[in-house]
């Protein structure tokens, strides 16, 4: 019998046996993909001789797609762990300044290719490095991958960052506006519904990334909400605690 996650009643839970089955599948998928990625890396590093610029470009594409699959596997596996309560809370150094620097780099290539203007408006005095959840950089990395994809060619993707709370428990409060795909206000929740995502016709958040991002944000005490940006695109409101949860 399915039971809801005690931390978040909105998440339909998987049972422990289902979780084990999923984990075994994911382990096998990830193992094979990891070997493929390592082979491509070794080729690119010249293990079998010099690689031409053209060949390197194709290896890069193949590797990037394999990496995306590994990320998808990791996200879905950890989502099942959050649902059945077996996700182990971890702590690692989180540096907000480095985080946004990495995000700028993360989106730069694709944004340049599609002439998307990106901007991160950061407040003065971002909190310094601290012990936080590794889910924070992961949520941002995954979410911006989707947002860049959903921003129209030559559109804008802007991020306003604020800090709420002080002392030991600051939170990142972000408003992100993506010019392009306008989410359907009546179907917003379907973006965060696994079964709805397996259907057709969805726009922003097509696939499982956004639902992972919201589940992970809520798991650490934050939240993620989408709303239409009428006539322009979609707005994302994200709140992420920076302290370890």
């Amino acid at each position: 019998m399915r039971r809801p996650n005690p931390d978040d009643p909105s998440i339909e839970g998987v049972t422990a046996p289902e979780n084990r089955l999923i984990n075994h599948f994911f382990h096998d998928f990830k193992g094979g993909l990891s070997t493929v990625i390592m082979c491509m890396d070794a080729l690119r590093e010249g293990i079998a001789g010099p690689v031409s610029e053209g060949a390197d470009r194709w290896l890069d594409k193949a590797e990037r797609n394999c990496q995306n699959l590994v990320s998808l596997i990791d996200d879905f596996r950890d989502l099942t762990r959050m649902e059945d309560g077996s996700y182990q809370r971890e702590v690692e150094p989180v540096d907000p300044s480095a985080l946004f620097e990495a995000l700028s780099v993360r989106v730069a290539d694709e944004a340049a290719r599609r002439r998307i203007q990106t901007a991160f408006d950061l407040p003065d005095g971002l909190p310094g490095p601290r012990a936080g959840s590794p889910l924070v950089p992961r949520i941002l990395d995954r979410m911006y991958g989707v947002l860049v994809d959903c921003t129209r060619t030559a559109g804008t993707l802007t991020t306003q960052v604020n800090i709420r709370g002080t002392g030991d428990r600051p939170e990142l409060v972000m408003t992100i506006e993506s010019e392009g795909v306008e989410c359907d206000g009546t179907r917003l929740e379907s973006v965060f519904d696994k079964l709805a995502q397996s259907g057709a016709g969805l726009q922003l958040g097509r696939g499982y990334t956004m639902l992972f991002c919201r589940a992970a944000a809520r798991y650490i005490g934050g939240d993620l909400r989408l709303s239409p940006w009428p006539g322009r695109g979609t707005r994302v409101d994200l709140r992420l605690p920076l302290a370890a949860h």
């Binding site: 382990h27 990830k30 193992g31 993909l33 990891s34 070997t35 990625i37 390592m38 082979c39 890396d41 070794a42 590093e45 293990i47 394999c66 990496q67 590994v70 990791d74 596996r77 950890d78 762990r81 996700y87 182990q88 971890e90």
Partner: protein
Amino acid sequence: MVDRKARIFMVDDDTDLVDIVRSVLEAAGYEFMSASSATEALDIVNSVGPDLIILDVMMEDLVAGFRVVNHLRNFDAFPQNKAYEGVPILMMTSIQQQTRMKFSQDAGSRLLPIDAFLEKPVKPRVLLEKIAELLHR
């Protein structure tokens, strides 16, 4: 650090992965030997005489790699393995969280007594750096 080429012993049931790691490590000047199961690893580890062990977790069973660690590091139960006390164990696995959380370098810790953990996929350059770091400690 040893004077001869350092000998790396990899225990993993993914033969393609073992092949690629062998190529990378031999190209970098290491000697390389491998086993494809925990049972085989424990059978031959004495004859291999490794300077460093790369270990997978899930092989012939879910915790095969943990069993190898237990044999090589539990000196109360296996005093003959005291010789491996200074041989670094690098765990390299697709199992992400569960291994990382159980891993500790602290002496006396009840957590898994390995020296380092890398989550697959691992870039060859990262693997080489980690091995060099462990061998030069």
